[in-house]
């Protein structure tokens, strides 16, 4: 997975095209070395968050609360729709993790 590495090609990609996760700058700033664009294979948003957490321990806690659910002021968009942890991810889809309007 990771980072801005070239996409996998050939047979592997044909089996399961990786999803692309776009992370907000204010989030990756909390995890030195984390990129804004991540490629991985995941079939749900929960799996995606688990993989992010595996690569950058603690990232799950920044995106999700302990209910567990996506945090109130965080948004995960999949194909134009706000997602939950249960939202399924089609191979090749682009997932946007965004900070909502908040604060003062």
């Amino acid at each position: 997975m990771l980072g801005d590495a070239p996409s996998r090609t050939g047979k592997h990609q044909a089996e399961a095209a990786p999803i692309v996760v776009r992370l907000p700058g204010v989030l990756v700033d909390l995890f030195p070395g984390a990129p804004r664009r991540v490629e991985m294979t995941a079939s749900t948003v929960k799996e995606m968050v688990d993989q992010l957490d595996k690569s950058w321990p603690g990232m799950r806690d920044r995106i999700c609360d302990s209910r567990p659910a996506i945090r109130k002021h965080m948004n995960v968009f999949v194909e134009g729709e706000r997602a939950t942890l249960k939202t399924k991810l089609r191979p090749g889809v682009e997932v946007f993790v965004l900070t909502a309007i908040s604060g003062g």
Binding site: V26, L27, D29, L30, P57, G58, D61, R62, D65, S66, R67, P68, R71, H73, M74, T99, A100, S102, G103
Partner: protein
């Protein structure tokens, strides 16, 4: 002679550090740190110099930040800093205290966590949540927060906490069992005849006298109090003060008779310093008599407030006293409160003030 004095500031938009030498005449400000998260409490271990910051961010939730190089670099963690699945999640960390090798954290909604690895991972101290009064705790204006955390330096199993607005609770067994300790403190917001409940008082800040672990002082929403028996019984010490309302309390580093308060004009009168004239009120006899310390503080049009954790002393001789305002000004005294200087005045709202003296 101390090499330097650090005043650690938690603000609504990041942590800051004001730094000076032992003379404490000129100050240099560093920050903002912690990615401008709201930082409710920034503390330091005087033995190691490690600094921790308690925060909570609207986007990213609660975390404890840590710096082992006097604030130059920071990391954060919330590993284990969570209630069980299905329960209301933790919104922010509000208070930190070190005891017996462990670091304790008070959170919102009110609960206590302990870290045995210097803030890398956390474990819920579940005994407090099991207290039978828990379903009846009501939040204060800032939420249901565990903001005060006092540990007996001679016996780290003895811990007192303050929760707004559940009151003071005490454990003598490291957090397994707890009991309310509010006898003698008023709850003016309760119906007539019910103003002295077992719990439910709105404690604003709780501190321990140096060298006398059973002497506690508290600034309450409804009065100022002293206890000489570990909180079993509280007596009012508000006579001679300009109001019964305020937020912070700070003890002297060596003298258990000396306490500093910043009374405000009342809970429904704007919560400013009385008559818009700033003063720190000092007692030298455990609250029997009070003296307003005004030299160097603004005495005209000072519509300022000071929040519950925003006053502290340092351990130098004479002791330094510091307070930060909710409008972002930091004031310092290098002579136990006799005279004051404005260190800086355009910070975000100051939520906490603590000190670290580095030899």
């Amino acid at each position: 002679m101390a090499a330097k004095v650090l005043v650690l500031l938690g603000t609504k938009k990041g942590a800051f550090i004001a730094e000076s030498d032992a003379e404490r005449r000129s100050w240099k400000l560093r920050g903002p740190f912690c990615e401008t998260w709201p930082m409710n409490h920034v503390v330091a271990d005087p033995k190691t110099g490690t600094i921790w910051g308690a925060g909570g961010n609207e986007w990213f939730g609660p975390a404890v930040w840590k710096s082992t190089d006097l604030g130059e670099t920071w990391t954060h963690s919330s590993d284990g800093l969570a209630y069980a699945e299905g329960e209301e999640p933790i919104k922010a960390v509000w208070s930190l205290a070190k005891g017996n090798g462990s670091l304790f954290a008070g959170v919102q909604p009110a609960g206590l966590f302990r870290s045995d690895d210097g803030g890398q991972s956390w474990e819920h101290v579940k005994g407090l949540q099991k207290h039978p009064s828990r379903p009846h705790w009501n939040p204060g204006g800032a939420g249901l927060i565990l903001h005060s955390l006092v540990i007996d330096p001679n016996d780290h199993d003895r811990i007192w906490i303050g929760i707004s607005a559940a009151g003071v609770f005490y454990t003598g067994d490291g957090g397994k069992s707890w009991e309310p300790r509010n006898l003698g403190t008023r709850a003016d917001f309760m119906p007539e005849g019910e103003n002295y409940p077992e719990f439910g008082q709105c404690v604003h800040n709780l501190v321990m006298a140096p060298g006398m672990p059973d002497r506690l002082y508290q600034q309450n929403h409804c009065g100022m109090y002293r206890s000489d028996d570990g909180g079993k019984r509280w007596v009012s010490i508000e006579k001679g003060l300009p109001s019964t309302f305020g937020f912070p309390a700070a003890t002297h580093p060596r003298d258990p008779e000396t306490l500093y308060l910043v009374p405000l004009n009342g809970d429904s009168a704007g919560r400013y310093v009385p008559d818009a004239k700033a003063a720190v009120w000092r007692t030298r006899d455990a609250g029997r008599e009070w003296q307003a310390m005004r030299s160097g503080l603004p005495q005209e049009n000072a519509y300022i407030g000071v929040l519950r954790q925003a006053m502290a002393t340092d351990r130098l001789e004479p002791a330094g006293v510091y307070f930060g305002t909710s409008s972002g000004a930091l004031f310092a005294s290098a002579d136990e409160g006799e005279s004051w200087v404005n260190v800086t005045q355009h910070l975000p709202s100051i939520l906490s003030v603590e000190t670290l003296v580095v030899d």
